[in-house]
């Protein structure tokens, strides 16, 4: 396998070319999986014996919650890459992914609230995982506002990277502190090491939704990154050639 392909992804120009070719695949797979997964989950999956139909929001809640957290981890890895190897694309990824992370965190909280009303009898409880997600949302807001407060793009990216890394040190501490503080939420639905406790008819559509939402996330991030690249590299020849061709 030729690794030059991988190295090329680090340069904005090559990333722009390659991502342009990959983008349609992610868009098509993402939409296809999301449509299949939601119809399968909402119509064909069996009812829960306790919660009835209200459990079906899991097909939106779990994927968004997984992505909300893994988006922060991806940003943290990019922050490390940006600070150590000073790769431009890592900065661009953080800028593009932060608002999406905030959006998915909000969606996870919102769908959780909608699910909580029929099953727990309340929209919101000060429970460990809910509180940790709320703090995650605040962290995303901090990243976005620091990014937009500094005018110089290079400086803003570096400052944001430091903040993201500080945040990632703190995330496990916050998670466990609120867990010991107060908890009601059920444990994680999917674990890599164990078989899910649900029947396959129920978790298969969930898996489809999770993969679908990752594809969707990738597609939107690529779109946002391409815009950001055009904006940041607007003085280079290839961007001007691309725009005025």
């Amino acid at each position: 396998m030729k690794w030059t392909f991988f190295h090329k992804l680090g340069s904005p120009k090559w990333f722009f070319d390659i991502s342009g070719k990959l983008l349609p695949w992610f868009v098509v797979t993402g939409i296809l999986l999301l449509v299949i997964g939601s119809i399968w989950g909402l119509v064909f999956a069996p009812k829960d014996y306790q919660q009835g139909d209200s459990f079906r929001i899991i097909y939106l809640h779990v994927p968004t919650a997984i992505l909300a957290q893994s988006c922060y981890m991806m940003m943290a890895v990019s922050a490390l890459v940006s600070l150590v190897w000073k790769m431009k694309l890592a900065d661009i990824f953080i800028t593009s992914a932060a608002p999406l992370g905030a959006l998915f965190t909000f969606l996870a909280l919102f769908t959780g609230a909608v699910w909580g009303k029929p099953t727990w009898g309340t929209w919101w409880v000060w429970d460990a995982r809910l509180t940790a997600m709320l703090v995650l949302l605040f962290l995303y807001f901090g990243v976005i506002s620091l990014q937009s407060a500094i005018d110089d793009i290079q400086l803003a990216s570096k400052a944001t990277s430091i903040l993201v890394l500080v945040g990632v040190v703190n995330i496990p501490i916050i998670k466990y502190s609120v867990e010991w503080w107060n908890t009601l939420h059920q444990p994680a639905t999917f674990k890599l090491t164990e078989k899910p406790a649900m029947v396959p008819e129920m978790w298969m559509p969930l898996l489809v939704m999770v993969i679908g939402i990752y594809c969707f996330f990738t597609a939107v991030v690529i779109l946002r990154m391409r815009n950001e690249i055009l904006m940041r590299e607007r003085k280079t020849k290839w961007v001007q050639a691309f725009i005025f061709k």
């Binding site: 605040f138 506002s145 500094i150 570096k158 400052a159 430091i162 890394l165 703190n170």
Partner: protein, 232 residues
């Protein structure tokens, strides 16, 4: 080879940094008195706004004192680097032959003795005005002694990141407050355990861990952020 520049050792540099910090603080006394007054006002507002009932207040007192301490520390973060950034001494710190890490740690320590320590000293009085029982005051003081340095150190990162911005007040709080949640949880948890008659050792141990982690890690992030802000 002639050595025309006198080499200054680490100990002397740190001592000079601390002395200079105290001198600067003494000349801007008001900047350090204001957060204390702010702290007292928050605590006075609470019984007025919610309920003057002694039973309720004694239940809420720990949380109110701690949230007040958090907010007033946020207010004092502006003093930490702003003046040094404006008069260029921050650049001299960065250029210094001694590690920026230790200079930042010294600055944070001085800042804590000027903001955290007075706050700890007046907090028993304010806690008793909120009807916290006398016997639980030592637990509250202990959590404040261990928790406020953590907030100062984490706050230093936020202050360093935003020092080159013109209006950074709200932004610093937005960046720092989510990161201080564990301190708040374990500190209030410790005092609550003391009220319930349980042992507070576990909470104090975790607060100690947070303190050690922030002493060792936070100055790294602070000095990286300072280098960044100075290069602007």
């Amino acid at each position: 080879m002639s050595q025309s520049v006198e080499y200054i050792g680490l100990g002397k540099v740190l001592k000079e940094v601390c002395l200079r910090e105290y001198l600067c603080a003494f000349r801007h006394r008001q900047a350090f008195i204001n957060p204390l007054v702010f702290f007292a006002i928050i605590i006075a507002l609470f019984p007025l706004g919610v309920s003057p009932d002694p039973k309720f207040l004694s239940m809420a007192s720990v949380g109110v004192v701690w949230v007040g301490a958090l907010l007033s520390t946020m207010l004092s973060l502006d003093n930490l680097f702003m003046k040094d950034y404006e008069d260029g001494s921050l650049e001299q710190f960065v250029l210094s032959a001694q590690p920026l890490y230790l200079i930042m740690l010294a600055k944070s320590f001085v800042h804590w003795t000027l903001t955290g320590l007075p706050l700890i000293i007046i907090s028993p009085l304010l806690a008793m005005m909120l009807y916290l029982d006398f016997e639980h005051l030592p637990a509250l003081m202990l959590t404040l002694i261990m928790g406020t340095p953590v907030i100062n150190l984490i706050g230093g990162i936020g202050a360093a990141l935003t020092v080159s911005l013109r209006s950074s007040g709200v932004l610093v709080s937005l960046l720092v407050l989510p990161l201080t949640i564990p301190v708040l949880i374990f500190a209030t948890g410790a005092v609550q355990a003391s009220i319930d008659g349980a042992s507070i050792n576990g909470y104090i141990a975790i607060l100690g861990m947070l303190l050690m982690l922030s002493i060792t890690l936070a100055p790294f992030a602070t000095s990286a952020a300072i280098k960044l802000s100075v290069s602007n």
